[in-house]
Symmetry: C2
Subunit: 226 residues, 2 copies
DNA sequence: ATTACTCCGATTGTCGACAATCTGTGTAAA
DNA sequence: TTTACACAGATTGTCGACAATCGGAGTAAT
């Protein structure tokens, strides 16, 4: 019997996953120094695998390494997030356009089923923001996969989405935006159903612009409170 | 006295650079197995740093690692390149649009100077394709930098451009495309000078579409010859 | 002849120890 | 008091050796 989930792969992969999770959830604060020996000890492994994991996270842009000075958790300042959302708007818009041509009817109808679930979740419990946030990411990633472009999946899936999730955890406390977001999701699926790639792209870009505006305003208030 | 350039940074960084160069130039064939012990020996270092370098290259998508089975140089098949160029078209188009608003007049005029150099190189020596190819990348990356979006610079600069360079080395032998490409570059700079972001984006997207078409046709001929 | 199994070599994954480098503190001189 | 230097502690970078795992050669049974 294992005390934990199977945790497949090499120790370096395990460490990368656990670290990514800790960073995304905010368990490790932004800018925090990451001590190799400490972390290796707490994960019950040597420093070799841990160093490989740090290299991996560096590629994911979750940590920043400085030679001879160690690794620190990345800091998501306003400019970084702004740049991220600008790129994301373009890439996910592209994904939508491709998905309108590539996804099967079945996959599209599954999207509707997914949104039904989200709607139920929202009605049942307005508070459980975490699940809703993850559900939103699920929706977006399904469309990215639907594009059939492996490069897009790599960029938005395994790598950048971690940054997004990290951002969510910092800003998902308000989340009055869930209902309008759901409506926008519905519109996007409708466009996909009609195989209107142009429209789907436009709707997705607006959707992401709206998300950024919401986050941006929230950061304004936070700064003002300081 | 050093036999080589200074080669700054940790050994892992050095190894990553040297490996990336070998892969991009085709010195290491696509799909070739990468033996850790061998490479470490040839680089005069231990396996630790080399493993970190491989992790780094994996993040750059230059190698593919399979747990317990080692690392292999990535294979650029048609689908992969097609996906890459589709993403590149969107991202560099975006970069152009932003650059039209962000670059200083001075930076834009430097672009013209750069193109003058290219023109001279082409007239003097039609054969030296390597320099021209690198010059082209230089042009593109200057615009990406001009966008001011750090995320774009990361995506297109340090990471994906390596894949592009790799592609160039496989396909840059013909390169009758240098002259029309230069003209397109001129048009793009002209649009930037007029601060017309929409036009600049459109021209860049066409430029990249053209590049892909050229490469695609070339791959057709290659396949046909087989 | 084909299939399945076993064993062996080779390669990867991991660890512990040592060397190189950086950071912060304490001391001494101006 | 301030500045500069030197030392000590801690942290990162690197190496060599050992354990775990995989692929393939060889053999035997159907």
């Amino acid at each position: 019997m294992q005390t934990q989930a199977p945790e497949q792969g090499t120790l370096a992969d395990v460490a990368a996953r656990r670290l990514a999770h800790s960073i995304v959830t905010g368990e490790l604060a932004q800018g925090q120094k990451l001590n190799e020996a400490e972390l290796a000890e707490s994960f019950g492994m040597g420093r070799g695998p841990l160093r490989e994991a740090l290299r991996h996270l560096e590629g994911m842009r979750l940590v920043k390494r400085i030679p001879n000075a160690g690794a620190r958790v990345v800091v998501l300042d306003r400019k970084t997030l702004s740049d991220l959302y600008a790129v994301r708007e373009v890439l996910e818009g592209m994904a939508c356009r491709l998905a309108a041509a590539q996804m099967s009817d079945d996959e599209i109808s599954q999207l509707n089923t997914l949104l039904d679930q989200h709607e139920k979740q929202i009605k049942q419990q307005g508070g459980k923001v975490y699940a809703q946030s993850e559900g939103d990411l699920d929706f977006h990633y399904r469309i990215v996969r639907g594009s059939g472009n492996q490069m897009l999946m790599d960029l938005l899936g395994s790598e950048q989405y971690q940054l997004l999730r990290m951002c969510r955890f910092r800003t998902s406390r308000n989340a009055q935006r869930t209902k309008p977001a759901l409506n926008q999701h519905r519109q996007i699926v409708e466009a996909l159903t009609q195989r209107d790639g142009e429209l789907a792209e436009m709707l997705m870009r607006r959707h992401i612009q709206g998300a950024w505006r919401s986050i941006s305003e929230m950061m304004d208030k936070e700064e003002q409170a300081t």
